[in-house]
């Protein structure tokens, strides 16, 4: 893997201090304008830079939700680590889920630098004050789900994540390079699980199709409703680089042929590529379902949060022990 820092040289503190928005003689408006110009020129913002509150809060909210999603995304998959049917699959799935926990850790670190302690972020997640991605509010029913999640949910995610490597917030963009590299391995693992099952028995093929039927709706909702590019503040600040619809089109372009190639049927009779318009047409995703689910009313939202609350409370004593001042062991 290429060293991310080699691609994005971080300026020395002295050079950074000379960036125009760090000039204390400028008015707030002048600094704000200089900051916007810096970001719009495609340059990076670092954790200790001066930044407008709107930018700081925007990045924090975006990264915190991403971190929450990585952490909550562990729960639907963790029970299948126990159930993995071969030694090789168990090793692969254990490593994959470990990656997701690692991503949560990295992303909470990025968010922490913007001023919100990790413990507070975890508490807000447990209290339902912050959100996580829609796909992690659904149940998993079979080994087919393990393949579909690792292949297609991670594929839909990586389409968005690859665009985030260009984020204006330097620590986030660098973290995304590492995360994308690992996610691409997950997709290979997921595809291998699916290909093996599709080459297997009638029951196995049915298991995959049934899983795809259940996951297609949430997958199409995952990137969110179409939005007005000019009104999207995350785009304005270059926190993200692409609109929801751009991401969805990209996902469909890459994955519809790959899904069909395996003999799977996508449960949307409308789905086709319109050559004239140069875009995929599809049945309108259920945006009410998306809103209901991400506000904590999905089929597994409360159960998963309750599970996490329970374990967070049960292990509070361990965190208290580690964070306390060291006490000499009894002689």
């Amino acid at each position: 893997m290429t060293d991310p820092l080699a691609l994005d040289p971080v300026l020395s503190p002295e050079e950074r201090s000379r960036l125009p928005y760090h000039d204390p003689d400028l008015s707030h408006e002048e600094r704000y304008d200089a900051f916007v110009e810096h970001v719009h020129a495609g340059r990076k913002v670092e954790a200790r830079d001066w930044m407008p509150d709107e930018y700081r809060n925007g990045v924090l909210r975006f990264v915190e939700m991403h971190a929450n999603s990585e952490l909550m995304g562990v729960l639907p998959e963790r029970e299948w680590i126990m159930r993995a049917p071969t030694l090789k699959r168990k090793l692969a799935l254990t490593a994959k889920v470990q990656d997701e926990v690692g991503h949560a850790q990295l992303l909470y670190r990025v968010a922490e630098d913007l001023g919100k302690p990790r413990e507070q972020m975890l508490q807000d997640l447990l209290d339902g004050k912050t959100k996580f991605h829609n796909v992690f509010h659904y149940p998993t029913r079979s080994w087919g789900d393990v393949g579909i999640i690792a292949w297609l949910v991670d594929a839909a995610a990586i389409v968005a994540q690859q665009a985030l490597r260009e984020s204006s917030y330097g620590p986030y963009s660098r973290t995304m390079k590492k995360i994308c590299w690992e996610e691409s391995v997950h997709i290979m693992h997921g595809r291998d699980v699916i290909v093996t099952m599709m080459s297997g028995t009638h029951t196995q093929r049915g298991m995959v199709q049934e899983a795809l039927d259940r996951w297609w709706g949430p997958l199409m909702q995952m990137h969110g409703p179409r939005s007005d590019r000019s009104k999207d503040r995350d785009l304005f600040w270059r926190i993200k680089a692409k609109t929801s619809e751009e991401l969805r089109q990209e996902f469909l372009s890459i994955y519809v042929p790959r899904i069909r190639e395996l003999g799977l049927e996508i449960p949307d009779p409308v789905l086709h590529y319109d050559e004239g318009a140069g875009r995929w047409e599809y049945s309108e995703p259920d945006w009410n379902e998306l809103r209901t689910v991400v506000t904590g009313h999905g089929p597994m939202s409360q159960e998963r949060l309750e599970f996490r609350r329970l374990h967070h409370a049960e292990s509070a004593w361990v965190r208290a022990t580690v964070l306390a001042a060291p006490v000499a062991a009894a002689a």
């Binding site: 963790r78 993995a84 071969t86 030694l87 470990q98 029951t203 196995q204 292990s315 580690v322």
Partner: protein, 285 residues
Amino acid sequence: MTATPAERRVTRASAVPDVPAFDTAGLDAPVREALAELLLTMADDEFVLGFWDSEWTGIAPMLEEDVAFSSLAQDELGHARVLYEMLAQLTGGDADAIAFGRPVDGYRHCRLLDHPRTDWAFSVARRWLYDTADAVRLGALRRSSFAPLAEVVAKIRREETYHLMHMDVWLRRLAGGGEEPRRRLEDALAKLWPDALSPFAPLAGEHALLEAGILGQPMAELAERHLAQATATLAGLGIALAGGRVTGSPPSTVDGRDRAVPAESFRWLWNEFTMVHRSEEGATW
């Protein structure tokens, strides 16, 4: 640059390659049978422990420890895999069939691993007891006359050294961490202590292994060594094993791997880990 965790894992996975090819023609039937028993018990220990470790995935007390316990699980599973593969080569079976295809009462893991995950202190106490015992057992195999085993053991020992270091830090932290962590640790040790020597349950055909130089010392001798070392470390932390809180039945190796019926926690575990495997007869996953 520093390797990413994913890259490190790739390196680590390839550090335990497939079993070196070997010829079983030179092994007498009794030696072969006893060797199969040794490999099965070791593999089952690592396999079952790996499951208890991965039960912490997603819910460990801290994200850092979540990642660490997942690495432990992957190491143990990797060890189990290489040992099952060696066994499969010895007996003409298949590693996955051995790992996933036995009835619930066909597993030979030691009693120390029959307890459910329980709390963090319990996991630390069990892992520490197991890792220290395993270090003694692996030490008795590192000069094994059965070269493929000696080779694999050398690789396993390199990883187990780090497990032991990790667990030793936690043991000391809980022992010296104040009233609650210490009480929890002592409760866990008290519960586990009767099974502390179960990894050294005598093996059927142990004599054959000793005579052939496959196993360096008798299990009974290894058990004594482990008992002395563990007792000394715990005594150094003020945890008295006789007359203190951590008493209960004295540890014994007798029936360390034999049970009239499988433990309830293992029945649950077995149902989970064979669920998909059992769901479609003869399917490839």
